[in-house]
């Protein structure tokens, strides 16, 4: 399993005279990311935020901050396809869409759909599949809009407790919902979910909340209490 840790803190900008909970200023994320591939020996340095078959991105725009993770489905390796190509390109395309402002903060599924369509516009015949989890912090409305397709997910931690978590989407064991591009001869055989199948939620967030997005590599290996223990170590500056 691969894991990616990505946590964000909400910090208000330029505080001049104290801060109230109902601050009307724009929120933003303080971010970090980390990950480990399954095979330490390989030591392949992948470009950008690619760890093993997983990929992630952090992107900022005037209206929103966006985090995303994608878990490349490893089964493709048996057919000679590098699983990280799909997840990496998906995340990099999402990042570009956000940077260029071609998205609506309240519609994270739209970002996934647009990114998936862009993958099909590539001259290079991409193959592979991955899960995807996107969280969008709407700066002005102080809401977190999320989209989750598959078994990656996110947690929102407040005051040392999990206040919100995503649901896993699985067809059956070890077969999560996934976006995929299949070779033409395997069109009907390969599992391919539409981006519209993603779960979408909107959550109110407060200053000091920690948002963690990760692939199943984290959630399958670390129980909640251990994750919370680690997150407690983060100092929250208000």
């Amino acid at each position: 399993m691969f894991s990616i840790l990505s946590y964000g803190r909400l910090v208000a900008r330029a505080v001049l005279g104290g801060l109230s909970q109902t601050d009307s200023r724009d929120y933003s994320l303080v971010t970090a990311s980390c990950g480990f591939g399954k095979d330490f020996r390989k030591g392949i340095l992948k470009k950008g935020m690619c760890y093993g078959d997983d990929a992630c991105f952090i992107a900022r725009h005037r209206s929103a901050d966006v985090l995303g993770v994608a878990d490349g489905v490893g089964g493709w390796r048996d057919y000679g396809v590098d699983p990280s190509q799909f997840s990496g390109t998906l995340m990099r395309t999402c990042e570009r869409l956000v940077r260029e402002g071609r998205f609506v903060p309240t519609n994270p599924v739209g970002i996934l759909t647009a990114s998936y369509c862009e993958l099909l516009q590539n001259k290079v015949p991409l193959l592979g599949s991955s899960t995807a989890c996107l969280v969008v912090l709407d700066r002005s409305s102080h809401q977190l809009h999320t989209a989750n397709l598959g078994d990656s997910g996110f947690l929102v931690v407040r005051g040392g407790e999990v206040v919100h978590r995503s649901d896993e989407q699985q067809h059956y064991f070890n077969t999560p919902f996934q976006l995929s591009i299949a070779p033409p001869e395997a069109e009907g055989v390969v599992l391919s979910d539409s981006p519209d199948a993603a779960d979408s939620t909107s959550i109110d967030v407060q200053l000091g909340d920690i948002i963690l997005t990760a692939t199943d590599g984290l959630f399958d290996n670390m129980p909640d209490y251990m994750i919370l223990q680690e997150l407690k170590k983060l100092k929250v500056f208000l």
């Binding site: 099909l120 516009q121 290079v124 015949p125």
Partner: protein, 612 residues
């Protein structure tokens, strides 16, 4: 000795005084310069460097409308690829390159009398945030550089609230299309002319006819200053290339001199004894502005230059910067017999109005056979109605990239029953209008529906094409998103004369349905087949094309994983006329195979693009 000392001390005293007055050494330099140039010392202007904020207009693009990949959208903002080079999605790419499209049998004839200085085939217009006096322009080219032939600046600011009264376009730089030998990305910074107005609207014009593959642009930087630099060394006017010298003659279009009466006593000597037709033949080699200038010399030549027979073929595209309603009005009297008219790229930003165009069509439309109106954003529904009414003999109509034209305008085209060529690439034509055109224009031989995103059901359109357009010779269905094997079956059964078929980026066509095999078997005259980015094209399809279509000369099978070198070898052996074969991103065809095939078949240009 004493006089010497006194003299020296006086000298020293004067130097000190002078120094005290002028301050530091630096200021001494300035004051000397001030004396030399006779100007006040100006503060140094701060140079502003900007990336493009927005792309506002362009003639074509490779990518899909609303996509981020290979579209003009990528030209704005920061560079995404530079300094890497390669065929990347995050660059701006035009639809065509080289001479391949020109050399197709279906391509329209070139207009004669094009001025040699006008080489532009494509353009893109960019707006920057702040208007400045430009000092330099950098274009970051990341793949096959060398296509830029002209850079222009406009005096109008698209972001200003008040519409500008007088819009001027000045050429900052012009040059020949080049084929740059280095395969790396480059920053193209030509030496640009100084402007006397501020600008934030820049236009690049390109010609990629010498290039081996698509050129790709990453970003454009505009360096400028907020206050006009008064140069201390005034370059003589002869030093600067006057790129607009052809455009200066545009004033003759506006007929400033029509009011003049030419003196009666001018005699033309032996010139007059030449037969009328011979003088006409000599004049037929002059470009239109030269004709207008020549008309002012004497009454005889005035008569010759205003003879409508000189205006049977009229291309006004090279003069798009200065063409306006007044020019059209002035040309009207001479254009009653015009048959081929090229107004592509003209009239934007208000220089030609609907009324001006309609008046021109009313006078000059009767004998019109060919009308080019590519990128003419002044067109509206009324204009098309006028065309349909006033041009009963029209056979060729080009409305390429007229993306501001509303959908109802296209309904009028159905009234032009003699239409043989229709190009509506990148327009908003809808299904109803298209179907009515197909039903009434039964003489259609060339139809381009590339990137027409508002058509919903291409299978239905294809079935009508197959049923009605029996004379069709070329069909462009580039990026026709939902055409399936049923549509293809209808086309190939009905249009037996079809020679050119572009099915690039049509993802819903699946080879497993046998549609390509059927296509090959039913179209023995096929010369051009583009199956770009159809990932299902396989060896069987290539072999069927090889055995059934011996006259193939352009083939594009970019991006399929299923074609092997053996099938390509068969194609090359059987199709002796093949000259273009694009196998970019075909995973089984690596560069070694391409080298081997190129060596064995030297007449074929085998293209293999790369991303690196």
């Amino acid at each position: 000795m004493y006089p010497m000392l006194t003299f020296l001390s006086m000298f020293y005293y004067f130097c000190l005084r002078r120094r005290a007055r002028s301050g530091t050494r630096g200021e001494i330099m300035n004051s000397r310069r001030a004396i030399e140039s006779n100007n006040r010392i100006l503060p140094l202007s701060v140079e502003v460097v900007q990336y493009a904020k927005e792309v506002v207009d362009f003639s074509s693009q490779y990518g899909s409308e609303n996509s981020l990949s290979y579209t003009m959208w990528n030209l704005s903002g920061l560079p995404n690829v530079y300094p890497s080079s390669g065929d990347f999605t995050q660059t701006a790419v035009f639809r065509t390159y080289g001479r391949w499209w020109e050399s197709c049998p279906s391509s329209p004839l070139r207009f004669r009398r094009a001025p040699r200085s006008f080489r532009s085939q494509e353009y893109v217009e960019l707006v920057f945030e702040e208007a400045v006096y430009p000092t330099a322009i950098d274009v970051l080219e990341t793949y096959h550089p060398g296509a830029i032939v002209r850079i222009l600046a406009c005096s109008a600011n698209p972001y200003s609230q008040t519409p500008p009264s007088d819009i001027r376009w000045e050429t900052l730089w012009a040059g020949d299309p080049a084929k740059v030998n280095i395969s790396q990305a480059r920053q193209f910074t030509p030496c640009i002319k100084q402007l006397n107005f501020m600008t934030n609207l820049i236009r690049l014009e390109l010609n990629s006819s010498l290039l081996d593959y698509y050129t790709e642009l990453d970003a454009v930087l505009l360096h400028g200053v907020r206050e006009r630099l008064r140069s201390l060394h005034k370059p003589s006017m002869l030093d600067l290339d006057d790129y607009d010298k052809d455009d200066h003659s545009l004033e003759f279009f506006t007929g400033r001199f029509t009011g003049m009466t030419l003196p009666e006593y001018t005699k033309n000597g032996y010139f007059e004894t030449l037969p009328y037709e011979l003088i006409q033949l000599i004049l037929s080699h002059l470009t239109v502005p030269d004709l207008c200038q020549l008309a002012q010399t004497c009454k005889l030549l005035h008569q010759h230059c205003y003879d409508p027979l000189q205006y049977v073929q009229l291309s006004l595209q090279p003069y798009w910067t200065g063409l306006d309603d007044t020019s059209l009005e002035h040309l009207q009297s001479r254009c009653a017999h015009v048959q081929c008219l090229n107004l592509s790229w003209t009239g934007n930003r208000g220089s030609i109005s609907m009324q001006g165009f309609s008046r021109f069509m009313q006078v000059c439309g009767f004998e019109l056979v060919r009308l080019e109106l590519a990128c003419c954003h002044f067109l509206n529904e009324t204009c098309l109605e006028v065309i349909a009414q006033m041009c009963p003999n029209l056979q060729e109509l080009n409305l390429s990239s007229c993306d501001k034209l509303n959908t109802r305008a296209f309904c009028h085209i159905a009234k032009i029953s003699g239409l043989r060529r229709l190009v509506v690439y990148r327009t908003k034509i809808e299904q109803t209008a298209l179907l009515s055109i197909l039903n009434f224009c039964l003489e259609l031989q060339h139809l381009s529906l590339g990137s027409c995103v508002m058509v919903d059901d291409y299978d239905l359109v294809a079935s009508v094409i197959g049923a009605k357009c029996k004379k069709l010779r070329s069909l462009d269905l580039w990026r026709c998103k939902n055409i399936t094997e049923n549509g293809i079956a209808a086309i190939v059964s009905g249009c037996r004369l079809l020679e050119e078929l572009d099915l690039g980026w049509c993802p819903t066509l699946q080879s497993s349905t046998g549609c390509f095999i059927k296509l090959a078997r039913k179209l023995p005259n096929l010369r051009k087949i583009f199956l770009t980015a159809n990932r299902s094209v396989c060896d069987t399809d290539i072999e069927e094309l090889a055995t059934n279509c011996p006259h193939l000369f352009h083939v594009d099978i970019l991006g399929t994983r299923m074609v092997s070198p053996g099938a390509l070898r068969k194609l090359l052996q059987f199709c002796k006329e093949l000259c273009l074969l694009d196998v970019s991103f075909c995973s089984q065809i690596d560069s070694r195979v391409v080298q081997e095939l190129s060596a064995n078949f030297p007449n074929v240009s085998i293209k293999k693009s790369y991303t690196q």
